[in-house]
């Protein structure tokens, strides 16, 4: 129970991310079908994004879009005259991990697109997407394969 309180309860998100990431990574290494490997890759990458997003969570915080408390007051002050503007950072979720993860999502879809294009190219050459069949065809050699 002590273990549960110390390790599992306050960190359940991190446990979940590790489990998802390992599911994805296992598929990337072990699966035979290339598309299945890519599905594993998607899961692997989103798990890392889940980890980053979990870092930035604050209990009871709002989304990181600042409220307009009193627009007319805000506009009458020049920015320099009103340095802090009474924004409490604890009221807003941490924006930095979100920014980083936008990049990671974009990288993820780019990699996926590239990998799918390569899969189609492999299918054109080998007429299959099963890794063991491709390797068997390479071993046999054949027209255009043993370059």
């Amino acid at each position: 129970m002590d273990l549960l309180n110390q390790y599992l309860i306050p960190h359940f998100n991190y446990w979940a991310y590790v489990i998802l990431m390992m599911i994805g990574m296992h598929a990337m290494i072990v699966k035979n079908n290339l598309i299945k490997k890519l599905i594993g890759m998607s899961i692997f990458q989103t798990a890392i994004i889940l980890f980053y997003v979990s870092i930035g969570v604050k209990e009871g915080a709002d989304i990181p879009v600042l409220h307009h408390h009193a627009p007319e007051v805000a506009e009458s002050h020049t920015p320099a005259a009103d340095p802090h503007h009474a924004v409490d950072p604890d009221h807003y979720a941490n924006p930095l991990p979100h920014v980083l993860m936008l990049t990671a999502i974009v990288v993820g879809v780019s990699t996926l697109g590239m990998a799918l294009a390569i899969s189609q190219s492999i299918y054109k050459d080998f007429d299959t997407l099963e890794e063991n069949e491709i390797l068997a065809k390479i071993k046999q050699g054949g027209p255009g394969i043993d370059v």
Partner: protein, 258 residues
Amino acid sequence: MKWIGLIAVVLTGALLLSAVGDFPDFGDPKSPANGGVGDFSVSQYYITHTEQDTKVPNVVTAVLADYRGYDTMFETTVIFIAGIGIIAILRSHPPGGRRGPAHPIDATVDGDHQRIIIGITCRIMIPIIQIFALYVVAHGHHSPGGGFQGGVMLGASFILIGLSRDLQAALARFSERRFIVLACLGVAIYAGFGLLCLLLERNFLDYGVLDGFFHTDPVMARSHGIFAVEVGVAFTVTAIMFAIYANLSSKGRLDEGL
């Protein structure tokens, strides 16, 4: 291979879990990442200073396109590379050259009733999607969204044309030459605004110096600069999302699609 994979996965998992006990509690606003170590925290700085530095209420947009705009420029480049790479790998005719045989299948005269329903529904939906996408691009300063999300939606609207009618119909609106140029243009807008700052003798991507260009004060110039680069991002993402779909769905021949 199976066992090696399993062992590697178990080892990595154990390694990752070994640190979990040391993590700050989930949701703790005073954790090092949220509250910083010592008296300074980068993320708190962003929340407290974005308004006065850039006048953008959406902190994520401000950090994305200004404080860490250099990352985002390369993020756009990553998308661009994916599109160019996929064309390089799959395309079987010269880019910008001749296209496949033109026998456009018009959804309404096809005689296929399902196609009529889908075609007309999409015809109604696509303009709405596009307007919403433009709204998302333009309203990224004040609400979630921005160049990426809007660009993906705009690209998706062209993909929807390709899905509901056929690829030729989509390519007639957004030809290969156009999407390559638009993709280049998007990155060029982003990097070009950076270069403009450099030519005005400030650091790369320092939009504050563009106040004369935008006829406003330096802080508002940052806000406008953020909008300008978001538009660039949206261009590239729109073009590349459609380019990837067009090539994947036709095995690089850009003829019929799915």
